[in-house]
Symmetry: C2
């Protein structure tokens, strides 16, 4: 591979996401270099106060409060400050100077997306914002690229973790909104000022972004109908439960076909969801997004919608993708192996097993067979005797703790040869139990 | 925007996926032109027999049996023929000549991925294969790009729709494997020769592709341990049910840390899954893929894993993404609006509602209020009286059929002013019930 200049990366903001991004960039330098084809150089971390305490220990010399200077000398700018200004001005400057930008700032992308995209398009720079919606969940790239040949009819999602945590707690514990909010604040799921979350502003920003991508249409955040969860009472939650439903704060983007021709609408409000709908199973602060497309049908994306390290994953995914482009001049599916790990053979795989045996029903058989498992280093988790049609026989079902495939195979061989055993009827691995 | 030459697109294969790709390319030409910035020109459809009957009516003059000539004159080649040859030779030729390639051919990518990727990398061409795993589900791009900055520890998925249909039927109806397979064949879920599906070869190809992407490592298909579902009996299924589990054919790719250092393993076999695990809720021929990454945590992707039009969605997503790159020289997040649909105001949104009222408990109140709903064009679906603490009052819960927000709002206003009504206690929309 040719030698390329390392892309200089500026990081703006060192809060819960920013500090994780910096840590991973420094710790995984070799991995990223292998994936990108050049070293990613963390040029600096722009913050308001260079001596503030951070969640993560980072080299002090990286910090600077001269954000403009840092941005001006960088090839890729990662913005994790939040808020509109000075983020907007810094990013417009970066894009106009030809730098690529990664941001997790949903409010900024929702309010100033068109302006930022235009600045990028003018000079051929890129703006990536996978982390702005759904935290770690890949949803921006699937909507923008994977579904680029389809026609999306509806996007419906739980896109705010704080309110989902609160509503989930109200459902599961019968808590009042106030109690649930208090716990959410204590655990760090809610901000000291929870307005952006509980009044639906955060979800509305995300609805704007999702609708704009899904419908290839500028959907201004002001056009998003918004109701928060402050009107949801414990009584409403209890009643929904009785009716086999749950209340979820949903962001909904849909095509509206009617007298006005083909139009689109984006909105946010608490809504009833059937208890057996997959969205009802989204608990705690998790997020999930449903997409209904004409050809693809129904798709669902589920995962962590917030959190420092989870959001850092999405930011770093954008960064590595942009850096690859920076080096290779194309998006690339980087299947060129960069890690080349060794393949572990099946014999060394560790999992759990369930073995069903037909045995002669005679005294001591269980302990003899248990001993046989133990001799091969396989630990039993459960053993159950089930009735058999033949009275002289018994069916034993053995569940094991995690064990090596090779050890289990020697157990199976020994069992098949054992005088107590008529046959090994089945053998199945337990992977998600 | 500048004028660009329309990219010439060659389509190889006109089966269930190919015919849908051709139809959508022709029908949605304007939409794709707006999204790409240039017209996509369907240069021809390469098939073995130009006069064979097709699922979809397509212009006869597009068909050709001279595949080499078609490929040689194209900028983007879509391969939907399946099988190794002549697909491999045609695509290697296309890539070496600088054309980009889209393929849904999992067997080819699994067996010859490194060779194809090398051919592409040498000339800077692109190879896209989102449709090769998970049908319509975006999983290749999320693994390759969105998670490019993370460390994937495990991928576990239901990636073969045919076997999931069969196992689901065995669970839901107590059918034997033979019965379930017969129905799957009748309904077109299984091929006349079902070996590739039920013996796990298809899933193993997909495991190879997923593992290679997830671990940045060449994982040869020969290294994938494979067991199909032919050993799964109705008894095993019944026993699993009793134990609160289901049997699913899983493709598992994981990092193995042990005495051999960091290694990876990919395997396919039927395994027990807890009934409350999200994978247990994947019914019929649907697919779902779990990804566990170090920073992102657990992610899940769910959707249609097969089907002509569903798979066409993924193929066309790849095509539009490659064509954008062809035109713009970059991947682009195409948030530049290309459709610019009108925004429908909230008043015109149609959904279902649940309205809770405190009313005076007197004769005729239900019918009077029902009339009030009807007057505004809102159709009631249910009305239920619930006890109230005050004996002179009753709580009414009204569920409506789909109605316009504006109409419902006038009902709410009228209710609030009605002499029977003490208060409108709550009003919530029902979106996923």
């Amino acid at each position: 591979m040719n030698e390329y200049r390392s892309p200089r990366v500026a990081l703006l903001g060192a809060g819960s996401v920013g500090s994780q991004v910096a840590r991973l960039l420094l710790e995984r330098g070799d991995e990223y270099e292998a994936r990108v084809g050049a070293r990613l150089e963390l040029a600096g971390i722009g913050v308001r106060n260079v001596s503030a305490r951070r969640d993560v220990e980072l080299p002090q010399e990286l910090f600077t409060d001269d954000l403009e200077k840092l941005v001006a000398s960088s090839d890729i700018v990662i913005e994790l400050m939040g808020g509109i200004e000075p983020a907007r001005t810094l990013l417009l400057g970066a894009l106009k100077a030809g730098a690529d930008v990664v941001t997790a700032n949903k409010a900024l992308v929702a309010a100033h997306g068109p302006e930022l995209h235009e600045a990028a398009a003018t000079v051929g720079a890129q703006l990536s914002f996978e982390a702005a919606v759904g935290g770690a969940i890949p949803i921006i790239r699937p909507l923008d690229a994977s579904l680029a040949g389809d026609r999306v009819n509806r996007v419906m999602g739980i896109v705010n973790g704080t309110t989902n945590y609160i509503l989930d707690k109200m459902h599961r514990e019968g808590a009042s909104l106030e109690e649930a909010l208090r716990v959410a604040t204590e655990l760090g799921y809610a901000e000291a000022d929870p307005t952006a979350d509980i009044e639906g502003f955060d979800a509305a920003s995300k609805a704007t972004i999702l609708a704009s991508l899904a419908f290839h249409t500028t959907v201004p955040v002001e056009s998003v109908y918004r109701e928060g969860i402050t009107g949801v009472t414990a009584d409403m939650v209890a009643q929904a439960e009785k009716d086999g439903r749950v209340i979820k704060l949903l962001a909904i983007c849909e095509r509206v076909n009617g007298s006005g021709g083909e139009r689109v609408n984006a909105r946010v409000y608490p809504a009833l969801v059937a208890a057996d709908h997959p969205l009802a199973a989204v608990h705690e602060a998790k997020n999930a997004i449903f997409v209904e497309a004409e050809a693809a049908g129904d798709l669902m994306f589920y995962g962590a919608g917030a959190g420092g390290i989870e959001t850092a994953s999405a930011v770093l995914g954008d960064l590595v993708s942009l850096a690859r482009r920076h080096i290779a001049g194309g998006p690339g599916t980087a299947v060129t192996p960069t890690a080349n790990l060794t393949i572990a053979p099946m014999e060394e795989v560790v999992t759990r097993y369930q073995v069903t045996l037909e045995v002669r029903d005679q005294p001591g058989v269980m302990s003899r067979l248990a001993g046989l498992f133990g001799d091969s280093g396989v630990s039993m988790e459960s053993i159950e005797q089930r009735s058999s049609d033949d009275e002289s026989l018994a069916t034993l079902v053995v569940g094991t703790h995690a064990a090596k495939e090779a050890d289990l195979q020697s157990v199976i061989t020994a069992l098949a040869e054992h005088s107590d055993v008529v046959s090994v009827s089945s053998f199945v691995r337990a992977e998600a139990v």
